[in-house]
């Protein structure tokens, strides 16, 4: 039989039982919609995490000191004091794929200005730090290399610090504030960066020249971290290798000794969080798929009822010359029609739900072509899979038994 006729027969028999068809379809609609919405939510949070990690600078490379391992006692990562300012300078001098390098020291400090005070983090770094982290000033200037060499008592403040010390909207440039009782002149105000993925306020920060913080505030020679950036995004891995080789040489590590430092690139970090959100997406997606599967079982159930109910009709069709294939296709098309139409409506509903979640839930969502294709394909496969058994049952009926069926 021609496929057009089969489709006509299927659509007619489905329209005879509108409510039943709709309810069966509803299982698929809900299944597909929930798969799409769940994947959109998962994908949305993944993209959100990626974007905020990328905002730290896509080319950036971080070098942390390794863990202290003394007499078998292993301390936390970064507890060792084996990274020096000289390592940072050596990287800049000897690694051609590295563009900017800055050692970083970090300390908490109580800031006092006139009648206000505030506790925040003070970072000591080279001027390169601003380039590596994509930090811009909205007013004032960056400190210079001369400031750094002279250990000048100047600093740049983040928006949160400025607001808390000087009030909303006031210009802090030129003001003097005391950091751990040392007076610092504010020479720049940083652009607002907002919260990062982990909920930290990136504007609650003070950045001062490296030697100022290291010598005047901390009086140590060790540093917390070295931050660098590669000349381009493609060279990040090459730069990482150069840095690793250089530091091993400088730290005089034998072949069989593990690194006493850790080099992390931006992509390493984004991969870690990417895999976390992937797990989230898979989890959400598989829960939603179960509802799609249940919808498929609904199709099978209703098709089995339909085959039993229409045994006589099948008998008549067989008696006038329908082949097994014709009967099989008739019922398959019914099942596929339910799952296809259900799939299409489900895609629409799922997209709508995602948009509503984004709008009213404030949750980032991203409906991807991939998730639409996946869930629609899944719905189609379910229609074929669960429609096949009842259809085959119908196609295998013996004509005379089917005709006699009451």
């Amino acid at each position: 039989m021609r496929i057009v006729n089969l489709i006509r027969i299927a659509s007619r028999s489905l329209s005879k039982n509108k409510l039943r068809t709709f309810l069966t379809m509803l299982g698929i609609i809900i299944g597909v919609a929930s798969v799409i919405a769940m994947l959109a939510i998962g994908e949305g949070s993944k993209q959100n995490i990626k974007a905020s990690i990328a905002s730290l600078g896509t080319n950036s490379i971080m070098i942390f000191p390794g863990a202290v391992n003394q007499g078998g006692v292993r301390m936390e990562a970064g507890s060792s004091a084996n990274l020096k300012r000289e390592d940072s300078e050596a990287i800049l001098a000897r690694c051609p794929l590295v563009e900017f390098v800055s050692p970083v020291v970090r300390t908490g400090a109580q800031i006092i200005t006139g009648s206000q005070n505030w506790r925040t983090i003070v970072i000591g770094a080279f001027t390169d730090y601003f380039s590596i982290r994509n930090l811009n000033v909205v007013s004032g200037t960056y400190f210079s290399a001369t400031d750094e060499r002279a250990a000048a008592k100047v600093c740049l403040v983040g928006q949160t610090v400025s607001v808390n010390l000087f009030g909303e909207g006031s210009d802090p440039i030129g003001q003097v504030m005391r950091i751990n009782r040392i007076p610092f002149k504010i020479i720049g105000l940083l652009e607002k960066k907002g919260q990062n993925t982990f909920g930290q306020d990136q504007d609650d920060i003070i950045i001062a020249p490296f030697s100022t913080v290291q010598k005047r505030m901390l009086s140590t020679t060790n540093i917390n971290q070295i931050i660098a950036s590669a000349v381009s995004e493609e060279d990040v891995d090459g730069a990482k290798d150069e840095i690793t080789m250089l530091l091993r040489e400088r730290h005089k590590l034998a072949e069989d000794v593990e690194d006493d430092f850790t080099v992390r690139t931006q992509s390493d970090i984004s991969n870690i969080f990417g895999s976390i959100s992937k797990v989230l997406t898979i989890l959400l997606g598989s829960i939603a798929s179960i509802s799609l599967l249940v919808g498929g079982i609904g199709i099978m159930n209703i098709m089995l009822v339909s085959v039993t109910e229409r045994t006589k009709e099948i008998g008549i069709r067989l008696a006038v010359g329908a082949k097994s294939k014709d009967v099989l296709m008739q019922f398959m098309i019914e099942a596929m029609f339910i799952s296809f139409v259900g799939g299409i409506i489900g895609v629409g509903l799922g997209t709508l739900v995602s948009v509503l979640v984004a709008k009213f839930g404030g949750w980032p969502v991203a409906v991807t072509i991939y998730s639409i294709a996946l869930s629609f394909l899944f719905a189609a496969i379910i229609g074929i899979f669960f429609g096949w058994y009842p259809a085959r049952k119908a196609a295998r009926l013996n004509p005379i038994d089917a005709l006699r069926y009451e």
């Binding site: 039989m1 021609r2 008549i316 067989l318 010359g321």
Partner: protein, 254 residues
């Protein structure tokens, strides 16, 4: 059409139904030849095997043993789909309970065998189905649904459906069993007209007066043919209908 051509030939047909230990011989050794252009009425009591015989020659059921040739084709060697094609092209089956699709219009019911025959487009199909409906006197109601038709009209739809693929043989299993006698005569009139045009008809009936419209009568008993006679004083349905005018019942009601 040549009179001598043998259309249906069965040899030693046996049909055994098994339920547990008990074997039921529905047919025990039936041999018969039916020539093209015949009009055979098969008679017999309930359980005599006549319906089983019809289902087998209609390719709806298969015998336990025996041989069956339809128009020279060894039917028992065919597979399921080949049998379906045979039912579609060579046989028109008419049932006691009409067996037309409910909630499907008269013309669509008639179109059904054509749907399983890819040769025609939808316009040709419609036209052919309409001609078949006209031939059974239902040309004025092609879009009627079965529940809007009387029993006799439903059976006419079934006959039109059996005719539409221009089969060589029409098999009718108690076609008048659910109809009153006047309507039965009308159906027989159609059958006789078809037979006059050369279509072979095999009909099961248990009504002796209906069997009188056939050319020959076969009597079944206990799964065997016990008599095979040609009908003496064959009746013409159209003449019987003239003798027994339609107005009768209407007059009585008035």
């Amino acid at each position: 059409m040549e009179k001598e051509k043998i259309l249906i030939e069965v040899r030693n047909l046996e049909k055994i139904y098994r339920s547990g230990e008990i074997e039921l011989h529905a047919l025990s050794g039936v041999s018969l030849s039916i020539e093209a252009g015949e009009f055979v009425a098969i008679m017999g009591a309930s359980g005599s095997g006549k319906s089983t015989f019809m289902n087998i020659i209609g390719c709806l059921d298969s015998p336990t043993y025996g041989e069956y040739y339809l128009d020279g084709i060894d039917v028992l060697k065919l597979n399921r789909d080949q049998l379906a094609e045979l039912r579609n092209k060579k046989i028109g089956f008419i049932f006691q309970s009409f067996n037309i699709l409910s909630r499907t219009t008269a013309i669509e019911n008639v179109e059904l065998p054509l749907l399983y025959n890819n040769k025609l487009n939808s316009k040709e199909r419609r036209e052919k189905a309409f001609n078949a409906l006209k031939a059974v006197g239902l040309g004025d109601r092609p879009d009627a649904l079965p529940n809007q038709l009387s029993g006799g009209q439903q059976q006419r739809v079934a006959i039109a459906r059996a005719l539409v693929n221009e089969p060589q043989v029409i098999l009718a299993d108690e076609p008048t069993g659910n109809l009153d006698s006047r309507t039965s005569y009308e159906i027989m009139e159609i059958f006789q007209n078809l037979n006059d045009k050369g279509i072979t008809i095999v009909m099961v009936t248990h009504e002796a007066d209906i069997a009188m419209f056939a050319i020959s009568n076969i009597l079944f008993k206990d799964g065997k043919i016990i008599e095979n006679n040609s009908v003496k004083n064959r009746k013409s349905a159209s003449e019987e209908l003239k003798k027994n005018p339609k107005a009768d019942i209407n007059k009585m009601l008035k």
